[in-house]
């Protein structure tokens, strides 16, 4: 018998979805409030939920051997003061479609001048400024995992050229040119002809602030930077300076070093920045619950779990 703690804002949804899978030998406790879990915390051998909630309970989950995160990002559980004597799996392979809708909503909005045209309309102006188009433009991807591959596929659908920076993998055939090694060494080759640069890199010791002065100076002034990934990869002062000095045409930012973005942050005052408040890809229970169900069946069969996090690498 396994005992599962579901700790999530969507605890009831996840409980219903997992129960509907009729998994064998599984007792479920579901709550959205860590304070509801008393001394029986020590009884759970499995946990499923949001890393930000689980991290506070983790020291008391003494019997836990596997935690499935509902998020892609597991930073709250990577704090070196926390235990690492369990298997941590995260959510992967389910955000590509949402991310693609997010990124291309803004790329198309730029090309088609949606905000400028709306302003013309509000002023009663018949605005026939010609739009531009994605076809023939070049997209740079920082990170080509399942999300990056989904973005590359949509870019190809719209007739774009795609350049991809990854640690080592070259799994997506929709990427025309791959770059590896330290970003500083390939910044010019990667960035100098881009129309759009999109970061979907994880937040790790190796990626911290890599989107900084050098990379931003390598981009042409026409470029738009889009970050639906992680805030920690961006040097926000360098990005703000590039935007203020016209070295970059604009930025679409979903994630930040501090969230919510502080009211006095310069990004709120820059007209060429779009702020989307960490909504690019939401963990919807119908997408995420199957990850737990599949991994639980693997556990019962003694197979390796999918999407295991390497605590040292950070993803």
């Amino acid at each position: 018998m396994h005992t599962l703690l579901i700790l999530s804002r969507f605890a009831r949804d996840y409980e219903a979805l997992i129960e509907s899978a009729h998994l064998p030998d599984l007792a479920i406790t579901a709550t959205g409030d860590p304070a509801q879990i008393g001394p029986d915390a020590a009884a759970f051998d499995l946990a499923f939920g949001e890393p930000a909630l689980l991290r506070h309970l983790l020291p008391r989950l003494t019997a836990v051997r596997w935690i499935q995160s509902t998020w892609a990002g597991v930073e709250p559980l990577l704090d070196p003061v926390l235990r690492r004597d369990y298997v941590l799996t995260n959510a992967r392979g389910v955000f590509g479609a949402q991310m693609s809708e997010y990124v291309f909503a803004y790329l198309l909005a730029y090309e088609r001048k949606l905000f400028e045209r709306r302003a013309s309309q509000d002023a009663g102006r018949w605005d026939q400024t010609p739009p531009a188009r994605l076809r023939g433009k070049t997209l740079g991807l920082l990170g080509v995992g399942t999300i990056g591959a989904a973005l590359a596929a949509t870019a190809k659908h719209f007739g774009m050229r795609v350049k991809g920076y990854t640690r080592a993998s070259e799994d997506s055939a929709d990427v025309d040119e791959y770059f590896h090694g330290p970003l500083a060494d390939c910044a010019a080759a990667l960035a100098s002809d881009l129309d759009f640069l999109v970061s979907v890199m994880p937040d790790t010791a190796a990626t911290r602030h890599v989107i900084g002065e050098a990379l931003l100076r390598a981009l042409p002034p026409r470029a738009i930077f889009v970050n639906p990934g992680r805030g920690g990869v961006v040097d926000e002062r360098a990005l703000a300076a590039a935007l203020q000095e016209g070295r970059l045409a604009g930025a679409v930012l979903d994630v930040f070093e501090q969230e919510p973005l502080p009211p006095d942050h310069v990004f709120w005052r820059l007209p060429n920045v779009h702020i989307t408040a960490h909504t690019a890809a939401l963990s919807a229970p119908p997408d995420i619950a199957p990850l737990f169900v599949d991994n639980y069946r693997r556990l019962l069969r003694g197979e390796p779990l999918h999407y295991r996090v390497d605590f040292d690498r950070g993803y």
Copy 2:
């Protein structure tokens, strides 16, 4: 020897593009101003340009045997008072990609709440309202020619279901369900479960005002209507009433019965309407010139020309 009149706002571009094709036996006169053409109008056996410019010169182009339009819409040349004793070909097969960027810019803007989120940002608000998504939604197409087929392909890329209304053809495999016959007879079956209805129908006697009261009442109140096609197919009073009464969530309108849209038109005052001033798909000389070049070679070889317009059908 053939003598070609290029009559276009982009006369110089077209002349350069056609000259670069080194077509045999072709003398070219290029201008953007019909008044520049004197008695030698009677010498041209070929013409290439904008229908709105060509229509005024047509009675004097007495030797013309073929006109290639730079536009898809050739309504100015369909006036029954005008001659029809020549072959008229229009621009087709080149607007699909642009139209797809236009339509999906607005579909994604709706799902991702781009304008609402911008308003939140302008108010300094960290707005985490969850976005919606295209995946799983249903798109209805009125007209499935080359443009409709391009829209269907993009809809499929984003995981949508596609319903298509056409006169008879069923050429696109990206359309899940086809509808034919009078629109009034299939309005409910076509429209009752749509999230988006997009019209790319030509403006003909048969399509005039077919998007009217009956079809609009068949749409669910959540639906968005997008018209990058022709203004004449819409009963604008019925559309305005549906939008004002909340029977339709919104409309994205590129074309109108009268253009520019008159300053006192109700559409300017409806908050749930986007007006894009006939810019959805522009005839770019690098896209259009090859249509003339290809058809000219066909003419020399005695082959039938591509994209011949049926004067009675109207497209």
